[in-house]
Amino acid sequence: MKRCAEAVPLLGPLHDGALADDDRAWVDDHLRGCSSCQDRLALIEAQAQALREALAARVAKLDFSGFEDRVLQRVRKEGAAATARAPVWGREMWWAHRRAFTAAGGLAVAACLALVVLFAPSRTEDLALLADNSPQIDEVDFGTRDGAVFQLPRETTVIWMSDDRAVAQ
């Protein structure tokens, strides 16, 4: 049986289903006989699950209702005002290049949406942090072992070590 040191780097790809068939065969075989690597794989799964839930909770808090309508309404309003001020040749120019302008407008809307996606989560996170009474970890040292810190619901912070033993060298 291959050693833990060879199996550990492949546990993440195994969990993601990204391992080649031949590697997966011997890693599965190693896992059947190694409780340490079973623990490590369980920790990877728990981390992935925690990340999924945290991301889902963050996305659920975002409110996009009516956002696109508001942006399009503003684009139309500003477009109308500019058109009213523009001379006749402006309208002809608009008509001649309407496809390019429409594409540019679409790009502007996409850019606005991208900005919201980029900035809205950080504001939500800041507010959540301000309201969060969970224990906050300043520093943690697992020595030679694997470990992770989980911020779970209901103000629960968990420091989790994968096993008593370090990876066999």
């Binding site: 970890i137 520093e139 779970l152 968990v158 070590m161």
Partner: protein
């Protein structure tokens, strides 16, 4: 006369400052409860959470949603009333031990704590150390090592450190 009044006023102001700066009885000591819990998937173990863990039931429930152990049983519980920077030490199964030291009270009311998990005899090497900040009434969970280092079936040791509210 003017000098005397000024001296009295200064003495009064100084006494006032001293009274506010002195820590109250509540701030001088810190109460910590440490619970050692066996988290197992042993089919023989009773399913669910030990009723003695009721004070930290929300945290165990939240932990259980993520780690999905079958059974949570209280092994040992100790409460300490500590001076600042004095360590509470608890013996854990498998001749391991845990040291928890309250270090300081932050301006936001959180308590800074240093925690060390020490290994088996004879070396007692340090397995884990951490510094964290916690509100009064808060609980932090530390776990993952085996209850019995030689028996994987005995489950995982979960240690709950609770910063008790002052009565």
């Amino acid at each position: 006369m003017l000098v005397l009044c000024a001296a009295l006023l200064l003495a009064q102001a100084d006494a006032g400052v001293a009274a506010t700066a002195a820590p109250s009885g509540v701030e001088r000591r810190v109460k910590i409860t440490i619970r050692a819990i066996a988290a197992t998937n042993d089919p023989q173990a009773p399913v669910g959470t030990d009723p003695k863990l009721k004070p930290i039931a929300p945290q165990i429930e939240s932990f259980g949603e993520q780690f999905r152990f079958r059974s949570y049983k209280l092994i040992d519980e100790h409460t300490f009333d500590l001076d600042w920077k004095n360590a509470a030490q608890v013996e854990l199964p498998g001749s391991r031990s845990l040291q928890v030291t309250p270090r300081q009270l932050d301006a936001d009311g959180r308590i800074k704590v240093h925690l060390e998990l020490l290994g088996e005899h004879p070396a007692h090497s340090r397995k884990l150390h951490t510094d964290y900040a916690i509100q009064r009434g808060g609980t932090i969970l530390v776990g993952g090592i085996r209850v019995d280092p030689n028996d994987p079936a005995a489950g995982k040791l979960l240690i709950a450190i609770t910063q008790e509210m002052e009565k």
